[in-house]
């Protein structure tokens, strides 16, 4: 009989659940995440789907994973390497074991390690019999299949149905290991399967069995507890970045009372934004699935001409296709938000892997002189705030705005503190309803900030025509006059430069001067902030600034960079921000660290690289 093991407190833990696509690891992961959220820990998660198509059961390419990093301190990333790996079959073990941190805990469903599955994972022999494994990790091999079957004996469920309950065994065990209260999960199962009562009972049984196993297992198992973090008081929910963008659209529609029109075409990893938005109809979001990306942005521009807040969402290949349309939006000066969820490139590249390699194409990827504001979100929840900001800029300045996120932000999740209405930005979106030039309407007559008015169809007396040819600087009529063209090119550039008034200064994390300044943008925020914390805790003179605004660049950036001996730019690309900073700030020559392997940068690896240049 087992000696009740006492609970050990830990600050943060990273757990990865892996199994066959059919094993329900995404559910297990999200449920366990929820448990920790409710316990008040900070957290970040990242699902790791197999390549698009569902592969044969048990195959290496069919492995699906879900990683969660939770802790009592601030959590920036889903974690470098799992402390605990829960593997439901051999293929999952094979593909994920290399990531488990040395000495980490390995929990496997021994029952799935039969000849057939071993072969599919091309294991010559059963790895569980391998002593090396036992020496390298704390291995807990449990026949979850058998234990699940036992728990459900007489339930009348088919063996197929029984198998589908297995993941709750693993979940139950994790609840016990990390000292989470069973009750809430039992309720949750109740809710979740209310439509299929037979599964309520079955899953609750199996969940309890998993929990009980922890207590009763012979080997005295170490239990852990991760205390609540110091998250600001408030109401929280977990959101993925893609959901957060859609929520942003709906929120803007509510705040402005104007229609948000999303014209889009499905593409991994941006598709969820269109899908989620289609559930926000009642809030004033109209979604339109176009025949292609070009028509997606075209429909949005058409809607903007009509007074809606036009948006389009896509990923790399789609962004490339929208280039000509973006140029039109620039010259027509209509509000538009283009959300680009970056993925591995070039070409079709690595659709399910993350990357930051669309920075330069976002800044320069249009023919002619076609500048537009470019903003990048820094975390899943921040995708919400970045969307509000992009929409505000687009409507205030009458310009297309490019919002960059990436596959890691889009699919990753973290707690989102539900803002009070007072915490939301105010919008004031106005249409021109009267002539602006002694009795006539001049669509390109600008205010002091160089912003043009927005008169929409249905407004009597303001009928006018706009288009993609160069236009007279007042009437908007076609003009082939060379000097007018030069004036217009410079005016459009100046207008975008003026947006600087809405660009907040960068905040330095750490001292204002020192040896190394880490400069990051977009999805690498978490990794870089984590590395900065680590290095600062080691007393290094390393600070961090993160760029949310890529165009215009923050006013104080040049001055801030001057305060450091070295500028260090880590990116998940081949050095695009580093090049851009060189081009914008003569004399600045950043040290680069580039990883292009489809994954977020690891905090420890990055910190190591920074130490090399210190």
């Amino acid at each position: 009989m087992s000696t009740p093991s006492k609970v050990q407190q830990v600050e943060t833990v990273t757990i990865r659940f892996v199994g066959d696509s059919g094993d329900g690891m995404q559910l297990t992961g999200t449920e366990f995440t929820r448990a920790n959220a409710l316990a008040g820990t900070d957290l970040a998660t990242f699902p790791d789907y197999p390549a698009e198509i569902r592969a044969p059961a048990g195959s290496l390419s069919g492995v699906s994973g879900y990683q969660v990093n939770f802790g009592s301190k601030e959590i920036h990333t889903p974690g470098d390497a799992p402390d605990v790996l829960v593997a439901m079959n051999p293929a999952a073990l094979k593909t994920n074991l290399p990531d488990l941190r040395p000495g980490g805990m390995l929990i496997v469903n021994k029952g799935a390690f039969n000849a057939a599955n071993l072969e599919k994972a091309d294991y010559k022999s059963n790895p569980l019999d391998d002593d090396a494994l036992k020496h390298a990790y704390k291995v807990l091999a449990i026949d979850m299949s058998m234990l699940t079957d036992h728990a459900l004996q007489g339930s009348g469920l088919s063996s197929k149905e029984t198998a589908r309950c297995r993941n709750y065994f693993a979940l139950g065990l994790m609840y016990w290991l990390y000292s989470r209260p069973m009750e809430q999960q039992l309720e949750q199962i109740q809710k979740k399967f209310s439509k299929k009562p037979e599964f309520v009972d079955a899953n609750q049984k199996v969940f309890k069995a998993g929990y009980a196993f922890g207590e009763t297992v012979e080997v005295g198992l170490q239990r852990y507890e991760v205390p609540a973090s110091k998250l600001a008081p408030g109401t929280y929910r977990t959101v993925t970045g893609n959901y957060a963008v859609a929520l942003g659209f709906a929120t803007v529609a509510k705040l402005t009372g104007k229609q948000v029109f999303l014209g889009s075409y499905p593409i991994t990893p941006a598709t969820e934004i269109l899908q989620e938005s289609s559930y926000f109809k009642e809030h004033g979001v109209v979604t339109y699935q176009a025949e292609d990306e070009i028509a997606g942005i075209g429909s949005a521009i058409g809607a903007s001409f009509g007074g809606a807040l036009g948006c389009t969402t896509t990923s790399g290949p789609g962004l490339a296709l929208k280039a000509e349309m973006m140029g039109l939006a620039v010259i027509a000066e209509l509000p538009l938000v283009i959300v680009n969820v970056q993925r591995g490139g070039p070409s079709t590249g690595m659709p399910t892997k993350t990357e930051q390699s669309d920075l330069l194409v976002s800044l320069f990827g249009r023919h002619g002189e076609a500048p537009m504001p470019v903003i990048a979100a820094q975390s899943p929840a921040d995708c919400f705030w970045a969307t509000l900001e992009a929409m505000k800029i687009a409507t205030k300045w009458m310009t297309p705005v490019l919002l960059l996120t990436d596959g890691y932000l889009g699919n990753g999740s973290e707690p989102f503190k539900v803002p009070a209405p007072s915490e939301l930005p105010t919008f004031d979106v106005k249409y021109q309803t009267t002539p602006n030039h002694d009795g006539a309407y001049m669509p390109y007559k600008r205010d002091a900030k160089l912003i043009r008015p927005w008169a929409i169809p249905g407004t009597p007396g303001l009928e006018h025509r706009i288009g993609g040819l160069e236009k007279d600087s007042m009437s908007g009529m076609v003009s082939y006059d060379g000097m007018n063209h030069e004036r217009m090119v410079l005016t459009r550039a100046k207008k975008i430069a003026n947006v600087i008034e809405d660009v907040p200064d960068v905040q330095v994390y750490g001292k204002a001067t020192g040896d190394v300044l880490l400069v990051s943008w977009g999805g690498t925020f978490g990794s870089v902030r984590g590395a900065a914390e680590l290095l600062q805790s080691q007393g290094k003179a390393v600070s961090h600034v993160h760029l949310r605004w890529l165009n215009p660049l923050p006013k104080n950036l040049a001055a801030v960079m001057k305060g450091f001996k070295k500028i260090f730019v880590p990116e998940v690309n081949n050095g695009q921000l580093a090049f851009y900073l060189r081009g914008m700030f003569p004399g600045i020559d950043p040290v680069q660290f580039n990883r292009i392997n489809g994954k977020p940068i690891k905090i420890v690896e990055l910190a190591g690289k920074v130490l090399e240049v210190l």
């Binding site: 929820r34 959220a37 409710l38 008040g40 998250l231 008081p233 408030g234 109401t235 929280y236 929910r237 929520l247 709906a250 929120t251 509510k254 705040l255 229609q259 029109f261 014209g263 109809k281 009642e282 809030h283 109209v286 339109y288 176009a290 025949e291 292609d292 070009i294 028509a295 075209g298 429909s299 949005a300 521009i301 058409g302 809607a303 001409f305 009509g306 809606a308 000509e324 349309m325 039109l328 539900v418 009070a420 209405p421 939301l424 929409i456 169809p457 249905g458 407004t459 009597p460 007396g461 303001l462 009928e463 006018h464 025509r465 706009i466 288009g467 993609g468 040819l469 009529m477 076609v478």
Partner: protein, 345 residues
């Protein structure tokens, strides 16, 4: 805004002229087309500010600049995409698309067929001069097989589209054809297009005197047109030729249309096929659309097809309104909270 429902002013043609004088070559067929459009608009029951003209790029696509309505001169081939977004976003507007054979059928082919398929209420006018005018004379998707142009000096190797057939195949609910020089007829067809609710395709044969002069003289010349043109009218027998002596009959054996002469070989007027533009089945319209390709057959002008179905924007807004009534007015906090939250004290 368009939503206020004040009375419709009484308009004259002038009210639809922007005052910018058209920049088309002397003698261009586009002049007579815009003339007819401006004549018809006063009677379509929409306020001037509620009418929008959207075009792509091409000589024809300069059209919106000359209309005193809202307008967008967009990108080559893309007009239907802008128009679709605008119409779905604001169904109360009347949205016209003006395009050319290259603009609509070469680079714009995809947006064209999807606009036809979806049955969005868009009135698309295709000025077909069988050539790229603005770029000075290259082969277009409606140029004849073997046609010599600047890019096909030895003749075009590609078979052309038959635009009405393509539109019908794509699912258009309104398909018609007229000719720049047939002013009165064009006016009637434009009126019918204005009255239709749904995807609406009107091909207008247009002469480009500079780069493809005389493309249609074989059917428009005074001397030949009575024999060469079949003027379709819904519910009327398909008669043509001098004194309407010739007719189109359906041959049940071969399942094909044939030309007959009323009064010859026992053929009476009731053997002649009666045009039915309103039937849902598109095959009759398709047969007529292919008529002129067969030697000895006339070229049909008028309305091939005019059927009514719920439009995509109607269905879209029905769903939106259903969602609104179902969910009621959710405030922003409830929107932001969603269904699964927890509280940190």
């Amino acid at each position: 805004m368009a939503t206020e429902n004040t009375a419709l002013p009484v308009y004259s043609k002038k009210d639809f002229e922007s005052g910018v004088d058209p920049r088309w070559c002397p003698g261009c067929g586009d002049f007579s087309i815009i003339n007819q459009v401006q004549k018809v608009l006063p009677s379509v029951g929409h306020k001037r500010e509620d009418i929008v003209f959207i075009s792509g790029i091409g000589c024809s696509s300069r059209f919106p600049y000359y209309m005193n309505n809202y307008g967008m001169h967009t990108l080559h081939g893309r007009a239907p995409s802008f128009a679709s977004g605008l119409k779905v976003s604001r169904p109360e507007l009347m949205v016209w698309i003006v395009t050319g054979d290259g603009d609509a059928l070469a680079i714009g082919g995809n947006h064209f067929i999807h606009a036809m398929r979806r049955n969005i209420d868009l009135k698309l006018l295709l000025f077909n001069n069988r050539i790229y005018g603005l770029t000075k004379g290259q082969v277009s998707p409606t140029s004849e097989l073997g046609k010599k142009t600047k890019t096909t000096p030895h003749g075009s190797p590609d078979a052309p589209f038959n635009p009405p057939a393509l539109a019908i195949g794509a699912g258009a609910t309104f398909v018609a054809r007229s000719i720049d020089v047939e002013g009165a007829h064009l006016g009637v067809v434009l009126k019918a297009a204005a009255e239709h609710k749904g995807s609406c395709f009107t091909e207008i044969y247009q002469n480009c005197p500079v780069f493809n002069d005389g493309a249609y003289t074989a059917i428009t010349e005074k001397s030949v047109k009575v024999e060469a043109l079949l003027r379709m009218e819904h519910g009327k027998p398909l008669l043509f030729g001098k004194d309407n002596k010739k007719g189109i009959r359906f041959n049940a054996q071969s399942a094909e249309l044939e030309v007959v002469t009323v009064g010859e070989g026992g053929v009476t007027e009731k053997d002649v096929l009666v045009h039915d533009a309103k039937r849902d089945d598109p095959t009759l319209a398709f047969m007529l659309a292919n008529l002129s390709l067969k030697p000895g057959f006339p070229t049909p002008i008028g309305v091939f097809r005019d059927v009514s179905r719920p439009t995509a924007e109607e269905l879209t807004w029905a769903m939106i309104n259903a969602a609104k009534t179902k969910k009621g007015d959710v405030d922003v906090t409830r929107l932001l909270s969603g269904s699964d939250t927890w509280v940190i004290k």
